[in-house]
């Protein structure tokens, strides 16, 4: 028989937990839900747009009544289903109307209650809060035939209510007890910008104002608000939006330990082990919650424990806030005020209505407030959550992430003013309108959801920032998911570093040892974590046979690039881009012999034979091998090419022999597997014809030696490389480049190119390891050369002449 789970509270937190639970253990429980509101489950964040008329009730429903039926959930909805009593010993829940249900596990998701300021008149008719659909209905009714609205509270909720009522045609005055609007999220300057903007929209303010009472008429309806200064204002409706308090009433009645909220541990369990609690009603490590992002995290953890998997701990993370008032753009996160030990970088442009402030401590972002231009909010937030040092980009920080150009989106950075037919995802041809309507129609909340449904940002990922903006703007302000994809993939909650440490510390030697030890949700992993972990294994144990071809992406398994028609491309290595007539003849002969439909020169100074059939691969490789050529690894997360210019041997400007340098570097680095592809270039003079400053490792010859550059990229995000240092000899070039390769190999995340890696760890750190610390550099270099001993084996020769993986290229049988 199934166990019985009862959920008290039919709000977002409770139902999200149920959804997560159904995903991982659909048959474990008979689920019963008690909710006081007579609806299905709706998106409470969307009450503001519902009030302002930008959304309809249907649009904000997450799960309608049919959903409960389909999923075999018993829903007791309505005021009479208020849960009055719980018998914890016998494990029964009793509702007001006498409904009695037994439980094995109980989930409390009772949410929060608005804080009603204790003034005379607070119980008059027309004095309401802003928490549910019923409140919105009262406001909408008032807006039809009443004129004056007072909103008490100039915080996030209060301003959204004021905006909504004003849009519905009422005269709105916001009453706030201090002089800074949204003082929990904004500093004085940003609050002033906001106040000006809202005043411009027609909302009035009474700042520093304390309410002494609310006055009413003979019918008990509110008529005015009176301040302690004696001033009164006419009021037909008063909205109390002075904050929320965790709703612990039921929990306290049944004797569960509560402080400000229901106290839970890291698994969302209360002091009664059969009872879990989640959402705005809880208190976790002293903290209470009001925004949706942490609650989503809680739902995941809680569902996992309810399902009996017993893994996952809830850790509270920093959250950010955005205001959902059309035309007002503001963002706030972390410690935005700072103190004597922190520094503030501020940008102000009153003419454009733009204010940006980032607070730093020890060169790390600890908070930020943005007004008017919030495009970079999620970037700052990510830097803050990742604890990234911004020492190397302080000079550009406030100008935003778009200082690096993105390809494929015409340099667009802001989505707000784009028309619906503006193409956001250039890979998959997805327009703004498609994304926005998918988000509202399919109730998408996370970037992964949007990727799955629309395919936007699901290919190269360069439009991720834009898609996130659309998600924020559409789902609503106080929701903020930053692409802090710390976990390797959905199979595990562990991040790349944790996995690598486990491999080293526990001497794990295969994917399944890793997935067993770290208790992966899918024992076989998926197409994301399998190649990643395979790489980490072979980086950690270079001289052991840990490489598993079945965890390799097809290209690295077949040693050729798969094409759209399932043929392959063959790119022989051409050292430093320098070839010979004999090599060219051999390539031409092979192209003729195997009917290669297209012969193309690549950007990396190689020759690409496109359209080779799978079964022909070993034979064409054999021919190329016989002419002295080896695999060019154009298919791998590996050293791809070392591009060179002519250099001093022929060029009248050349200062050093760049081709010779390039060929030597390629001989040293070829065959190495890396977290993502790696490209080198060597230029013979500062004219830089080999374009060395947009390569992962670039070498530029000058008269007195070689300049070394790292972290460049010419693809998705053009990034000019950073200057690492200058060296005198070609031996040093090799040592520094080998050390850099090894450092990246050991510390870069799988699929993370050197450009984002250098940005993530900071150039200063790379310099401190490679340039300043000679011992460290030599140790990296030695480890690199050691691993190369085992890596420099031509995979083509193994397959063409030694029968390795022969079955890959021939059919099992032919049925005719």
């Amino acid at each position: 028989m199934k166990e019985k789970l009862i959920v008290v509270g039919n709000g977002m937190a409770g139902m999200r937990t149920v959804e997560e639970l159904l995903k991982i253990a659909p048959d474990k429980y008979d689920i019963t839900v008690f909710g006081e509101e007579p609806h299905g489950n709706y998106n409470r964040i969307m009450l503001s747009p519902l009030l302002s008329g930008e959304k309809t009730l249907e649009e904000i429903m997450i799960n309608d009544l049919e959903w409960y039926t389909t999923n075999n959930i018993t829903l007791h909805a309505g005021a009479e289903k208020h849960v009055a009593r719980i018998d914890r010993r016998q494990r029964f829940v009793f509702s007001e109307d006498g409904t009695k249900c037994h439980y094995d596990r109980l989930l409390l998701a009772t949410g929060s209650k608005p804080f009603i300021i204790p003034v005379p008149g607070k119980d008059l008719k027309g004095v309401i809060s802003f928490r549910d659909i019923a409140d919105v209905e009262i406001m909408l009714k008032a807006a039809k035939n009443k004129r004056n609205a007072i909103v008490i509270g100039g915080g996030l909720l209060g301003l959204e209510a004021a905006n909504g009522l004003q849009k519905r045609g009422m005269e709105v005055t916001v009453v706030h007890d201090v002089n800074i609007l949204m003082n929990r999220q904004l500093d004085t300057q940003a609050a002033d910008y906001l106040k000006n903007e809202l005043e411009h929209k027609g909302i009035h303010f009474r700042m520093d104002a304390n309410t002494s009472c609310l006055e009413g008429n003979e019918y008990g309806e509110v008529t005015a608000i009176k301040f302690d200064t004696g001033e009164t204002l006419t009021a037909d409706i008063v909205v109390m939006a002075a904050g929320i308090r965790p709703n612990t009433q039921l929990a306290e009645t049944i004797g569960l330990y509560c402080e400000r909220g229901i106290v839970v541990n890291d698994t969302l369990q209360t002091y009664d082990p059969r009872i879990y609690a989640i959402g705005e009603c809880i208190q976790h490590r002293g903290e209470v919650f009001g925004l949706v992002a942490p609650i989503w995290d809680q739902a995941k953890v809680c569902a996992n424990h309810l399902a009996g998997y017993g893994i996952g701990m809830y850790k509270s993370k920093a959250v950010s806030t955005k205001l959902k008032v059309t035309g007002v753009d503001l963002f706030s996160a972390g410690d935005f005020l700072g103190d004597n030990d922190s520094e503030k970088i501020v940008f102000q442009d009153p003419g454009r209505g733009v204010y940006k402030k980032v607070v730093l401590k020890d060169n790390k972002i600890i908070g930020s407030v943005l007004y008017g231009d919030t495009v970079d909010g999620s970037w700052y937030f990510q830097l803050m959550r990742d604890n990234t040092s911004v020492a190397d980009m302080r000079d550009k920080l406030l100008f935003g992430q778009h200082m690096v150009g993105d390809s494929g989106m015409q340099g667009l950075n802001a989505t707000a003013n784009l028309p619906d037919d503006a193409e956001i995802c250039g890979c998959n041809g997805v327009c703004k309108g498609d994304i926005v309507s998918a988000i509202s129609k399919s109730q998408l909340f996370t970037l992964d959801d949007v990727r799955a449904v629309t395919k936007a940002s699901a290919s190269c990922g360069s439009c991720t920032g834009l898609v996130e903006q659309l998600l924020q703007a559409t789902v609503g302000g106080d929701y903020n998911e930053v692409a802090s994809e710390k976990a390797v993939c959905k199979c595990t909650d562990y991040g790349h570093e944790a996995v690598r440490n486990a491999i080293k510390d526990k001497e794990l030697k295969s994917f399944h040892q890793v997935s067993d030890f770290l208790e992966f949700k899918n024992p076989d992993g998926c197409h994301v974590c399998r190649p990643a972990i395979n790489y980490y294994l072979l980086c950690a144990w270079p001289n052991e046979k840990v490489d598993d071809s079945r965890s390799r992406f097809v290209n690295e398994r077949m040693h050729a690039n798969i094409q759209k028609d399932n043929t392959y491309s063959v790119v022989p290595r051409i050292w430093g881009g320098v070839t010979t007539p004999d090599e060219l003849r051999a390539i031409a002969n092979a192209a003729d012999k195997f009917d290669v439909p297209c012969v193309k020169i690549t950007g990396g100074q190689r020759i690409d034979l496109l359209g080779v059939k799978k079964q022909d691969l070993p034979a064409i490789w054999k021919d190329l091998n016989d002419a002295g050529m080896v695999s060019g690894h154009a298919y791998g997360k590996a050293l791809r090419t070392v591009k060179t210019c002519v250099g001093s041997e022929f060029c009248r400007f050349g200062t050093q022999d760049s081709t010779k340098m390039g060929i030597e570097l390629e001989h040293m680095t070829w065959g190495s597997w890396t977290p993502a592809k790696v490209k080198f270039a060597v230029s013979g003079c500062p004219r830089n014809c080999a374009e060395a400053t947009i390569k992962d490792f670039g070498v530029v010859a000058v008269d007195s030696g070689w300049e070394l550059y790292v972290g460049g990229n010419g693809g998705i995000k053009v990034r000019v490389s950073d200057f690492l240092c200058k060296v005198s000899t070609s031996e040093e070039v090799k040592e520094y480049s080998g050390a850099f390769m090894q450092m990246y190999r050991e510390q870069g995340n799988h699929n993370e190119r050197t450009a984002p890696w250098v940005e993530r760890v900071g150039l200063s750190y790379v310099k401190s390891e490679i340039v300043d610390n000679e011992d460290q550099r030599k140790a990296y270099y030695e480890r690199f050369l050691e691993s190369q001993k085992y890596a420099q084996v031509d995979p083509w020769k193994q397959r063409a002449s030694e029968g390795v993986e022969k079955h890959q290229f021939i059919p099992l049988t032919q049925v005719s």
Binding site: A452, S551, I562, V815, S816
Partner: protein, 122 residues
Amino acid sequence: MEPEIEKIMNQWIEVGHVDDVPRLGSRVVSSPFGDIAIFKTKDNQLFALRDKCPHKGGALSQGIIHGHKVTCPLHNWVISLLDGEAQGFDEGCTTTYQVKTDGSLIYLALSETAEASQTAAT
């Protein structure tokens, strides 16, 4: 339908030895109806699917196998080996075929699963 083809479709055809298909790997059987991929999962179960992703025709035999699923190498669609259905929000289906072992030999039935499952059950 040609009587010859009909004959092929209604019989179990021996296609190879179980050890010919590597674990978490696949092999391809060429047939008059196109390539058919035989997959072997971690738990040593065999599955047969048309070697063509319902999305853009990628060779599923070249994908990474995980659980009872395979990820297409072209655009990362995840296809169920059980029924050929695309997973997640993707929509599409690849034909599945009946496959069985007798001793150490693998047999394949070229009639599509829907009909074949009847005979296989008996």
